[in-house]
Amino acid sequence: MDWQGQKRAEMLMQVLLVASAVAAFLAGYVRADFQFMLLVYAAGVVLTALVTVPNWPFFNRNPLKWLDAAEAERHPRPQVSAGAAAGGKKKSGKNK
């Protein structure tokens, strides 16, 4: 699951659960049946789990674009020079 997919999965999870809770409460209250509320909510939870837990294809529409290995070797990371690093350490040591 890619980054956008994870964001979408969490959003979907929260929206679906809250929506099924509201629907279940209203249904239970109107029918004056507590057990009916629990059944409707349980159905909502199962549906939410089925939609958001498995790694469905629509969570993978924005794959990360990694640089080619050969491309990365041609542009190495800039190295911090050894002298500057040592000087920094000494300074911070003195100040302490």
Binding site: Q6, E10, Q14, A21, V45, T52, N55
Partner: protein
């Protein structure tokens, strides 16, 4: 949310959190119910009335208890516990409560009832104060909800009097 296990865990924990909120809301909805229960108790007969060997008065009576408590039931009600108590004042105690009968109402269909019974529990005074005693019969009830807050209330019925003599 990057793995199957994390997403399953997130769904489970958030679902239970919301379930708690729903239970709270269900309990809160009980406040919108304004019950109008009725009750009446008739004393059909004083079967006997005597002083025990240890000096305490005891009375046995036949009661006719009728009540309609169906308006106490809401969708969040599990059961209603109801009891009838004799309440009176003595020089020693400002309030004496003696439970004479109780019952559990498991459903709204059984909340309207008429019961003909002798006192289920013994009506014994702490001492010998019952001769000619004026007393109240009070119907108490406790509403046990499926979730949340428990409610209790009562109906006081006044104007009952015990005989002046043992019999």
């Amino acid at each position: 949310m990057h793995s199957f296990g994390h997403r399953a865990n997130a769904v489970a924990t958030f679902a239970v959190t919301i379930l708690a909120a729903m239970c709270f809301a269900a309990s809160f909805s009980d406040n919108f119910n304004t019950p109008s229960p009725t009750a009446s108790v008739k004393i059909l007969n004083i079967n006997w009335f005597q002083k025990e060997a240890n000096g305490n008065d005891e009375v046995s009576m036949t009661l006719n208890i009728s009540a309609d408590l169906s308006s106490l039931f809401t969708w969040n009600t599990k059961q209603v516990f109801v009891f009838v108590a004799a309440e009176y004042e003595t020089p020693h105690n400002a309030l004496n409560q003696v439970s004479l009968w109780d019952g559990i109402i498991p459903a709204k269909e059984h909340a309207k009832f008429l019961i003909h019974t002798t006192n289920k529990y013994r009506f014994i005074d702490q001492g010998s104060n019952l001769k000619g005693k004026e007393f109240n019969l009070t119907m108490h009830w406790h509403i046990m909800p499926k979730t949340g807050k428990m409610f209790a209330d009562k109906i006081v019925m006044t104007g009952y009097r015990l005989p002046e003599q043992y019999r």
